[in-house]
Structure formats: C-alpha cells, structure tokens
C-alpha cells in the first residue's frame, strides 16, 4: 500500500481544497500518511469516517500524544502535555472539568443577547471604513478588529488597554510578520492576560474572567491559560471566515445577493459558508488509544490521525454537489466546528459574529468589489487557519 508523504496543501483555486484530497476521498477515505516526524499515521478524507473518529473517545486529543501534521517551524519538536487550563489538548475528565465551567458563558441564549452589541461594534468599523473610503483592506479594517473587539468585551479587557490588545492580536495572526515577531506578540498577550487575571481579584467585573474567578475552582495560571485559548481559538478563525467569506461572496454575486437581501437566509447561509470554506485545513489530529477499525482500516494504538475537515465537508456522500456554494442548501451537520466532545466551545458566538457582520458589510456597501486582481489577494496554504492575508476592496460613494 502506498503511503502519502505529508498532508496535501497546495490549492489551485483559493476556495477549493487541494484536488488530491478529493481523489483520496474517492479511493481511500482512510489512507496511510507519513507525518513530518517520520511517523506513519493516517489521513481521513471521508465525512462518515471523520465524524466517527471525532466522536470516539478512543481517539485522544492529548497534546503529548499528538504529532504535528505539517512541519513545525516554531523551533523544538518536544511535544509536551497541555499546560493547566489548555483544555483543547486534554481528554476527559480533565477537559470536561474546564469545559463545563465555560459552557454556561457560550450558550445560544447568551450569545443571542450579544447580537445587538456585535451589531454596534460592526457598525463602528463600517463607519470607519466609509469615512476612509472609497477603498479599504477588509482584513485590518473589518475581519480582524470585529472578533478581537468582541473577545476584549467578553474577557473584560479595560477600554484603555484595548488598542494595545488588538494590535498585539493582529500581529499574532499576521502572516506577513516573522515567526519571531508573532511569538513575541503571543508572549506579550499571555503576560497581559495573566496580569488581567490578577487584577480581577480586586475588581471582578461583569465579564467571563470575573465569572470564572468567582467559581473559586481555578488557579490564576489556569485562568490565564484559558484566556489565551479563548483568544487564539476565537480570533483567527472568525477573522479568516469573515475575510475569506467576503472574498468568496464577491466572487459569487448571486450568492452575495442571497445573504444581503434575504434576512431569513442568513443563518443557513453561514453554515454553508462554514462547510464550503472549512478554514480548519491542518488537523485536527487525534491519536488512537486502542486498535480501532475505521472505514474498514485498522488503526493501531499509538497511531496519529489527521482529519481533513475541508475534504470531509465536500464529501458527495453527505452533501450533494459539494463543490457548489449554495447558501440555501441545508448545510447543518458540517464539520466546520468539529465534532465530538471538543466541538468548538465558541461556535454560537462565531455564528452571531458571522451572521451579523457579513450581511451588514454588503448592505452598507451594495456595490462592493475587489480593488485588485485575484492574484494579489494573498492566500496562504501553510497558515494554521486558512484565509486571506489582505482583501483590498472599493465601492462607489
């Protein structure tokens, strides 16, 4: 049997997963794949198989068992156990303990209550874009600051610190910067969040960190790390969905019109954009804790599995005509937020942000169009979360 040498990542169309993934899904939806450290593990491209692995507790999320599916240029390959509070790299019951403390803050109802505030924040940035027009780069002007401001408010970052917090967050996810600069931004953010956590002891405030502190169940180290997880998980993902989503819609005007003009369609439209774009294109990785058969293949204990969300979400066995963007399609069940006990904690927040910000953008600027040729809208096949680096647009005043 042939072994795939690494995760295919080269795209020919910015909106479609690498073509190699589609042919693998058809021939061998569970296929052997060599990881960068030489480990022979697996790549999953089929929807049913992906869902089965993500739902199965015999596949572990523990950081120290995991292997990066792409070469890590962070320096050092030592994979260590997740630090206290970094629950995404843990299994139950450790993971569940943290998750259960957080779920109450991210319910459908709590997030619906944030809708008006997200709309205000969106309008604030749209006003700024309009004033500076008739041209803007939607990444720094729209896609990046909206989720970052929402996170500031949720965590309870004081007004006076927000500008600095937002600049550091933008740097952290700016692929034009060197890795060193980005890691420096992360270190600074982590230190800031640790300091913020300490300050909450004196003045808890009506925010997520204050509420978590009030439970009395978490150490400052755990709280600071949880804040970092929420920032990292909540910013770049939503940012890339907003920017890549806007780009996709500008290239599909009939679909753009659906989102702009049909208020009833927005909920479903966002699910379809999540399915179609699947920005989690590297990983998630799980490691087998036992021998498990998946799709007729035997995955042995200790072997790592990379689940391809973009490939699974384009599986014709689950979604007919999967390569067509159809905002009226019933796209629920997509794996854009994952599946299983690690499914995205902040998904209801992300939905509110996307359902609010994207239609508002196209209603404010009905004739919005790209200001540069497609090859100047930089996509990065190696970015941890897939997206566009810049999105220069223009409109008629």
């Amino acid at each position: 049997m042939t072994v795939l040498d690494g995760l295919p990542r080269t795209r020919t169309c910015p909106f479609d997963p690498p073509a190699e993934l589609a042919s693998l899904r058809e021939s061998t939806p569970v296929t052997r794949m060599k990881f960068p450290d030489g480990h022979e593990g697996w790549l999953i491209t089929g929807y049913a198989e992906a869902r089965a692995v993500l739902a199965d507790p015999r596949f572990s999320s523990r950081a120290e068992l995991s292997r990066p599916p792409v070469p890590m240029n962070m320096g050092g390959n030592a994979i260590e156990p997740a630090r206290p509070g970094m629950f995404t790299g843990m299994d139950d019951p450790g993971h569940a303990r943290y998750r259960k403390l957080l779920t109450g803050a991210f319910t459908v109802r709590r997030m619906q209550q944030l809708k008006a505030r997200v709309a205000e924040i969106t309008d604030l940035y749209l006003d700024e874009i309009e004033r500076g027009g008739p041209a803007a780069d939607l990444v720094p002007a729209f896609a990046s600051p909206i989720p970052s401001m929402v996170i500031c408010e949720m965590l309870g970052v004081p007004m006076s610190e927000r500008e600095n917090f937002q600049s550091r967050s933008a740097e952290l996810f700016d692929l034009a910067l060197s890795l060193q600069d980005r890691m420096a931004a992360l270190t600074e953010l982590a230190a800031f969040l640790a300091k913020l956590t300490k300050e909450k002891h004196a003045d808890a405030g009506d925010d997520l960190l204050g509420d978590l502190l009030a439970t009395g169940e978490l150490t400052d180290e755990e709280l600071g790390n949880i804040a970092v997880v929420l920032l990292v998980a909540g910013h770049e993902t939503t940012r890339n969905m907003l920017a890549l989503g806007a780009y996709t819609l500008l290239r599909n005007p009939d679909q753009l019109a659906v989102l702009r003009d049909d208020r009833e369609a927005a909920g479903n439209a966002i699910e379809e954009l999540m399915r179609y774009l699947s920005v989690i294109h590297i990983g998630p990785v799980r490691t087998a804790l036992a021998d498990v058969e998946v799709g007729g293949r035997l995955i042995r204990e200790g072997e790592s599995v990379n689940i391809s969300v973009p490939a699974a979400n384009r599986d014709p066995l689950r979604f007919p005509d999967p390569d067509i963007l159809d905002l009226r399609r019933k796209a629920t069940g997509h794996l854009g937020f994952g599946h299983g006990v690690h499914q995205c904690l902040g998904q209801q927040l992300a939905r509110v942000e996307m359902r609010t910000a994207l239609p508002a953008l196209f209603r404010r600027f009905p004739d919005l169009r790209l200001a540069v040729p497609d090859d100047e809208v930089i996509t990065n096949d190696d970015a941890p979360i897939y997206g566009v680096g810049r999105l220069p647009v223009t409109w008629t005043r």
Binding site: F106, T332, Q343, Q347
Partner: protein
C-alpha cells in the same frame, strides 16, 4: 378513530443525557422549541414527544449533537 393514522402520527420519544452533554448548543440552535440550555449550558428537554414539524427538527438536532447526548428511543 382510525388507528392506522394514529400510529402513523405517533410522536417520537426523545431522551437527553446531561452527563454526556458538552454544552455545544446544537440542539437549542436546531430545535429551539424542543431543547434549551440551562445556565450551565447543559441540555434541557422542553418536549418529551415532539410531533409534526418539531419532530423533524428534533431529528436534525439528534443528528447534529456532537456528543451523542440526545437520542430517539425506539
């Protein structure tokens, strides 16, 4: 009464397991009249035996639940 019709319209029986629930909110989002979340984010079943349009939404919710916390009892 036409028993055949009654049988055809028999409402489905749902079961929610709060120990398995991870608070993702897919049920409350998909079938808001059938499921809700409590203040801790965990599933609350509002209707034990949904019928008609609600039954389809409940089925979608069962399918969407990431942790298998809600199920249809045969």
């Amino acid at each position: 009464m036409d028993t055949v019709t009654r049988k055809g319209n028999r409402p489905m029986k749902l079961q929610a397991d709060r120990d398995l629930c991870i608070g993702a909110g897919m049920c409350a989002l998909t079938a808001p009249g059938v499921f809700d979340q409590d203040d801790d984010g965990l599933v609350v079943q509002l209707v034990a035996e949904p019928a008609d349009a609600q039954a389809q939404l409940a089925r979608d919710a069962v399918n969407a639940c990431p942790s298998g916390a809600i199920s249809i009892m045969e």
